[in-house]
Symmetry: C2
Subunit: 248 residues, 2 copies
């Protein structure tokens, strides 16, 4: 069944108000009519099986038939803090990271980030990533759309204390043959805890950055013995979180 995220306030009792973009998708793209069944999501983790009742040009309503807790969210709350890479790789990570279950996507400029977002353009870039993430969330049966934020490196450091576990992807660890740290962190996670994954740009992190974070309790980890590209490391990490916590 087709899935649509709706603002939370769209749901009143057993009726959901459908916004213009959803109405357009149902009526014009899918050419469906009242009676069409779909899944609506309020972004809090609930999903609603619903049926279209009215379909006007720019608005519509649906009747909720069943309300249930979604079972497609990772059992831990995962934030990916990703240092801005070159080109459009950030979009790949936004999309795949959503499919793989991340809950928050923080973009920041690390010391070796070649690309920079200027303050004026950043909101537009965040908005574009947010749109990619919403589409990916609908496609992948997520019950929550991850939130994208552009943050300063200082904020990242300051927020470390609010997490239960913090992992830094650090390729020096891979080169030195360190292998156990990441699995040790994942095995200690309990449902509901907050995990932060910090992944660097093409040139990796500066040692001073890694030191600043490890002093606050972050763990530098290798994701296997191979050297992964900047955009591959977050996908490895998220797949491993899913494997360790959902399949094992």
């Amino acid at each position: 069944m087709q899935r649509y995220f709706l603002p939370r306030e769209s749901f009143v009792n057993d009726t959901a108000t459908l916004p213009a973009d959803v109405v357009h998708h149902i009526g014009t793209v899918l050419r469906e009519t009242p009676g069409y069944r779909m899944v609506l999501l309020d972004g809090t983790g609930l999903e609603y099986e619903a049926e279209v009742v009215t379909l006007e040009k720019k608005t519509g309503t649906a009747r909720v038939l069943e309300r249930r807790q979604a079972t497609t969210e990772l059992p831990v709350d995962v934030t990916l803090a990703y240092a801005l890479p070159k080109g459009d790789k950030i979009e790949l990570v936004a999309q795949k990271g959503t499919e793989l279950g991340m809950h928050h996507f923080w973009v920041f400029e690390s010391k070796r980030s070649v690309a920079k977002w200027d303050a004026k353009k950043a909101p537009k870039k965040v908005e574009r990533l947010q749109k990619i993430m919403q589409e990916a969330a609908e496609q992948s049966y997520r019950a929550v759309v991850p939130m994208c934020q552009h943050i300063r490196p200082r904020e990242l450091t300051d927020r470390i204390d609010s997490f239960d576990a913090v992992v830094i992807a650090y390729e020096e660890q891979a080169k030195q043959g360190e292998q156990a740290a990441f699995a040790t962190v994942l095995k200690a996670l309990r449902p509901g805890v907050k995990l932060l994954l910090i992944v660097g740009p093409e040139g990796g992190f500066d040692e001073s950055e890694v030191n600043e974070w490890t002093e606050r309790g972050a763990q530098a980890c290798a994701f296997g013995p191979r050297i992964l590209r900047s955009e591959t490391a977050p996908l490895y990490a998220l797949a491993a979180v899913s494997y360790a916590l959902e399949l094992n």
Copy 2:
């Protein structure tokens, strides 16, 4: 250190003959000269620390200083059989699959593959993927370049018996909440065995295909409760293989 794959016959005693593309990269791209140190790979799993001795216009030689077994290969031999997706996603999977450690990359047309490679064009497409995989292997510190082959669906089915374990990515399993099968397969793997991962195109596999393979011993698996895109599923599977066998 920069890494280059050389044909096996380039190594004679302690001398390696450098082909034109490597000479071009060292002399023209990097602007290096005799004395430059690098790692040469013969594609069998050995790596050679070496120093440039001569650098002509189209050829050169290097002296091997140290020869060692690489430690960057997955402990099991992994073949990814990937049903042709739309567009250029196949290139993403070739590149990321190499970074994540696959050894063989088989491309085939499944029943729901919208894209088709005609017999005339296939060799050129395979050659292009092979080039992407060689570059990815050098960048990711692999000791082996995965081999790309375009095979017929019939061949895939016939080859299943030659593997120790065969996993089919099957999203119907994800929708039904099946979660344990993949981890059960991975936990039973011993070093050196042969694992085949079969991943479908955008529309997934036809039930008849899955039945044909499971009758021969393949295991249909979910990669977590979310629905992954065709190009994301192989990356999840390979990351999980690495996590289960290399980090645990």
